[in-house]
Symmetry: C2
Subunit: 311 residues, 2 copies
């Protein structure tokens, strides 16, 4: 089966690990968010792509939800001694990924080619595609001005008020090679339980991707990142509110309504089913909080089983 | 007292540590070799400048003679996993120096300004000046073609035949700010026991520096890196031979003859004194192999005591 997933970081990583374990022989293509890419110490860092890559390589630190397992932070300490900013945690082994990527990008390779090489080196069977090879940068407006996503999320720990969100560069960006084909040719398209505004939003802001989802022959299945009235993790609530979306499974469905077929929601959200139906979205109830590997695989099976026959 | 030292890497680091300990209140300016600078993983690495800086900061791994004490190599291992070249050993904490320098250089800062900032951060009281802010690259011709110095020295472990040595870029390079002043205004100029061809040679190849040494009011005192017919460490012998210099204290004096006043040589080389005198170089006999801190300080005292009255 050809699976294509649209993915942010931590939440996506869990479901993707579940999908890869549930259907190891299927072709899995991940379209990853690059809106939170950042330049740290002169290095090009792609946090969401790397979280997905490390998860699929079996190397993600699952307790933290980012970075490599068994990581050390000696270089970070030394950067602090030199007076550099150290709010963004780059581990010693993780640094190799960023050094490798930065050099390759400077040599003129597109990000998609760099990710293909990195995934190959780390033994990742899935294809991990950036949504675009061109820069798209999510920016968050706060009462004190615009911040990059990492400044907002990591440096400010998402503790500042969000007034607006923009995807700088999105209108000029093109989908990376293979992105539209992966959506059009998939038998199932999965939207991972990621932040609709700052993880999936940047992907949808790249011209052509939302249209491809609308025209996809496969049914599109999303997993809600919201249970009840709050995000399973991270600042999705505040960001959805800033974009005028209700913080609920219904708000998630509204963000994806034009092309969403099915939304997998938490069993506790059974009261939302009728409202989702009015948006044209079929609801599937499941245990969507993935607290261990078994639940990741169980949820992946629900997602794969919930697809309707090909349109 | 104003001391100015011309320095390569490991041997220089020992004498400089001795000079700094013997005369902690004196003004010490080091003019360092950048001919062996290299780009590793996209980072600008200045091995000789860093060896000197780390030594004067009390952080040099003295057993290895390069890098930081207590260093780890996690990033290097991960770079290997990604298929990168790993023959040049960059430690995790050391990486911070190279990341910091590379970003600053890309932002347009000259290397001399970057070194001043790094030395300040590491608590180095001495000034460590690169010989030039412009690139000069030592290249070694072997039967299989030209190699960069690091390819020759680290990758090939200096085990290939040397046919010739060149300092690419030297004729277009200018001394870094402060270099000529440091030579002209010094009360003692010390040429550290470094390789005359690939450590001191590139410094002398920068137009203006040899002339400044010739015109310096201070007597110039060098410490021989050669005892008997062999280098104390490293490939100086093969490189001197390739440049037509005899591998002896006399060969060292010949390389520096136009401006050298005094050469400190090993007690075992007493037979060379007359020959040195014929080159116009005064010989001072001492224990020049610095096997511990006490010997570093003792040799520094000999160097400082050997100066003749100001010309």
């Amino acid at each position: 089966m050809r699976l294509t997933a649209i993915a942010g970081g931590t939440g996506a990583a869990k479901l993707l690990r579940g999908l890869a374990a549930a259907r190891p022989r299927d072709t899995l293509t991940v379209i990853g968010n690059t809106g939170d890419d950042a330049e740290i110490w002169g290095l090009h860092v792609s946090p969401d792509l790397d979280t997905v890559m490390y998860a699929l390589a079996g190397r993600l630190d699952t307790a933290r939800g980012w970075g490599l397992t068994g990581e050390t932070f000696r270089c970070l300490e030394a950067m602090g001694d030199l007076g550099a900013q150290t709010w963004f945690n780059l581990g010693d082994r993780d640094l190799a990924t960023h050094l490798h990527r930065t050099r390759a990008l400077r040599e003129g390779l597109p990000l998609s080619a760099v990710m293909a090489e990195l995934c190959g080196r780390l033994g990742v069977a899935a294809r991990v595609l950036p949504m675009s090879d061109e820069p798209v940068r999510t920016r968050v407006r706060t009462p004190d001005g615009w911040l990059s996503f990492q400044e907002y999320f990591v440096r400010e720990k998402a503790q500042v008020q969000v007034l607006d969100v923009e995807y700088a560069g999105a209108s000029q960006a093109r989908p990376a090679p293979g992105v539209l084909e992966a959506i059009c040719e998939a038998e199932v398209v999965v939207v991972c339980p990621s932040n609709p505004v700052t993880s999936v939003g940047p992907v949808l802001a790249v011209p052509g991707i939302a249209d491809a989802l609308t025209g996809a022959r496969a049914r599109v299945v999303a997993v809600s990142p919201i249970v009840g009235g709050a995000a399973v993790s991270g600042p999705a609530g505040a960001l959805m509110r800033a974009r005028g979306l209700s913080v609920s499974a219904v708000g998630v469905a509204a963000a994806y309504a034009p092309w969403l077929g099915t939304l997998v929601i938490d069993r506790s959200d059974t009261g939302r089913v009728a409202e989702l139906a009015r948006l044209g979205v079929e609801a599937v109830l499941a245990d969507i909080v993935m607290t261990d590997r078994d639940r990741e695989i169980a949820l992946a099976r629900v997602v794969l089983g919930s697809r309707s026959p090909v349109k």
